[in-house]
């Protein structure tokens, strides 16, 4: 298993956001995570990526190493890249610079060499700029390399957020609602980009998504959360018909007796 989460919980005051969650992600799979609003999907991402600290008792093991309680940057350095629901791209920096920030963990020169402006820094910067231009071509933003990221459209920003995560050369890519707010055409474009990236770099991908089309078409396995608990897990086709999942999304189907009681009460 690439990622093994056991007994993970998170409380905010009295509210239980994630409760004793177990999750195993196989290397090379695409995992979808779905669930109604407030079911703990994003909290799960924040726990895995070290933004939040889990309650005692939870454990997160990545590639054989226990990373529970590690700070964010250490987790990122070990190969977990994520995107944010609200993107959080660096709007005042150029598109190319955004990608270069993603590449930060792999920069090879030290602070002293950087301060003195040695030739090795210059060659390394040129090399990684070339490399990032290639990635930029892959996500289709080459023309915008030197434009401030804040001037991009929403669709382009989503692609850039994906590109920044990819620049980290991750083993595990976690996407938090990558297709939210996109037009159907752009959803397809984003989906094919994710699949192409996965093919090319041999990634493992976890996707939180509300657009069911994305989940059904691209995921190998789907995990369904409700109230911070896992209520179902399996192949997309099986999940679609699971009565607990339908209940979670649409509410419980009422029996005759219940309907009568409900009508009487109102």
């Amino acid at each position: 298993m690439l990622l093994e989460v056991t007994g993970l919980s998170k409380r905010f005051g009295g509210l239980v956001a994630v409760s004793k969650l177990d999750l195993s992600i196989r290397e090379g799979e695409i995992r979808g995570i779905i669930g109604p609003n407030g079911s703990g999907k994003s909290t799960l991402f924040n726990l895995i990526s070290g933004v939040y600290q889990a309650e005692p008792g939870g454990r997160i093991v990545f590639a054989g190493e226990d990373i529970t309680g590690y700070p964010s940057h250490e987790i990122a350095r070990r190969g977990i890249a994520r995107t944010f629901q609200l993107l959080r791209i660096f709007t005042q920096m150029s598109v190319l610079e955004n990608l270069l920030i993603g590449y930060h963990p792999h920069v090879r020169y030290g602070s002293a060499a950087a301060t003195l402006g040695s030739a090795s820094v210059w060659t390394e910067e040129r090399r990684l700029k070339d490399e990032m231009m290639e990635l930029l071509g892959f996500i289709g933003l080459t023309d915008y390399a030197e434009i401030p990221a804040g001037e991009l459209s929403i669709g382009q920003r989503r692609l850039l957020a994906l590109g920044r995560a990819m620049a980290m050369r991750p083993k595990l890519l976690m996407l938090d609602e990558p297709a939210a707010g996109l037009s159907p055409v752009n959803v397809d474009k984003l989906l094919s980009t994710v699949l192409a990236l996965k093919q090319r770099y041999g990634l493992t991908v976890v996707i939180i998504e509300h657009i069911l089309k994305v989940v059904m078409e691209s995921c190998d396995t789907v995990t369904v959360l409700e109230h911070g608990e896992k209520i179902a897990e399996g192949a997309p086709a099986a999940i679609k018909d699971d009565h607990r999942v339908i209940e979670a999304y649409l509410g419980k189907e009422m029996g005759d007796a219940e309907v009568r009681a409900f009508l009487k009460a109102s």
Binding site: M93, Y109, A114, L116, G117, D130, T142, I147, M168
Partner: protein, 343 residues
């Protein structure tokens, strides 16, 4: 469509590839050094040499402040206190312990760097206005502490700081002192360029914009905050030491008040917060204006304050930002035009 975008991509890549070799990249620096070397001949009198020295010392201060405030986004109001620490440390080393200037300068610089790194620790938890208040408090206590310490001359001032001695000759003339200040300022600008154009500078900008996202990209936020405070304090320490040993070798705590800090902020804001040339442009302009309007000194603060507000409102990225926007737009148009021609 596909072909056109590839050709535009090639245009950008060609452009990146066509950047000059590392050695040629240093030509502008040689030219700049030559210009500064000959500059005193273009001036008329010793007062101009004094102003030149003042500008260059302010350049060092402003470049340092721009690193911590403009690039790393840490709102510090304590930069001038760092200069005070550097100045008094250097003065003590030289006047009380007889350490020659050439050793007192690096010693004071390192000492200030250390203090700066310690001052940076509150920045782990505080942000924006809160950090500004904390650093203001620290800075004011430094000034007041100096003002009541007899060892440092208290409110009378610290006098008889020995000038640098160069091959047995004391450097008292402003024109001679210029040749000590100028190389240091030039080196300061050069190092800031190297730092800010490298991965370190990019990381600073990332934590300025969004420290959570920066951490998710593998940036150790605490380390880089500390580094920013350390570097800027090194600059301030060096500038302070240069202030101390410049003729007439006198320091007074009143030269390190909040007024000086506002002037320094004006330099950086006007030149361009977070612009690589911001500190240099701002220090030059503001120092000259400051000197030209000396007769109206009681109105200076009011005018400077107004200029800061107006700059922030109408030119938020300063003079440097205006230049940058112009260049970036021109490039984008050129790329688009190349694409249209190819299609």
């Amino acid at each position: 469509m596909e072909d056109a975008s590839i050709s535009a991509g090639d245009a950008v890549r060609r452009d990146l590839g066509a950047r000059p070799l590392w050695s040629r990249l240093h030509l502008p620096w040689v030219a700049g050094a030559l210009f500064l070397l000959l500059l005193p001949w273009a001036t008329r009198n010793a007062y101009h040499h004094y102003i030149l020295n003042l500008i260059l010392i302010n350049v060092i201060l402003a470049v340092g402040l721009n690193i911590v405030k403009g690039f790393a986004g840490q709102v510090t109001v304590g930069h001038y206190a760092m200069a005070a620490i550097g100045a008094y440390a250097s003065a003590v080393f030289a006047a009380k312990f007889g350490v020659p200037f050439w050793l007192a300068l690096p010693a004071a610089t390192l000492f200030t760097g250390l203090v700066g790194a310690i001052v940076g620790i509150p920045a782990f938890r505080l942000e924006g206005a809160y950090l500004a208040l904390a650093t203001l408090g620290l800075a004011e206590s430094v000034r007041i502490a100096i003002g009541v310490t007899d060892y440092l001359g208290a409110a009378v001032g610290f006098s008889d700081i020995p000038p640098p001695v160069f091959f047995g000759r004391p450097v008292v003339d402003h024109i001679a002192y210029y040749y000590i200040v100028m190389p240091l300022a030039l080196a300061g600008i050069y190092f800031s360029f190297c730092i800010l154009r490298s991965d370190i500078g990019r990381s600073f900008k990332a934590l300025r914009e969004d420290s959570l996202a920066a951490a998710a990209c593998g940036i150790n936020v605490r380390k880089y905050k500390l580094l920013a405070f350390l570097i800027s304090a090194l600059y301030a320490g060096c500038a302070g030491s240069l202030q101390a040993h410049m003729a007439p070798g006198f320091l007074h705590p009143n030269s390190y008040t909040i007024t000086e800090m506002v002037t320094l902020l004006l330099m950086v804001v006007m030149g361009g917060l977070g612009h690589i040339w911001g500190g240099v442009i701002g220090a030059a302009i503001v120092t000259v204006i400051y000197d030209l309007t000396r007769d109206y000194y009681q109105y200076q603060m009011a005018i400077f304050g107004m200029v800061i507000v107006l700059t922030v409102m109408f030119m938020p990225r300063g003079i440097g930002g205006l230049i940058d926007d112009y260049l970036a737009k021109r490039r984008f148009v050129a790329i688009r035009r190349a694409k249209a021609n190819a299609a």
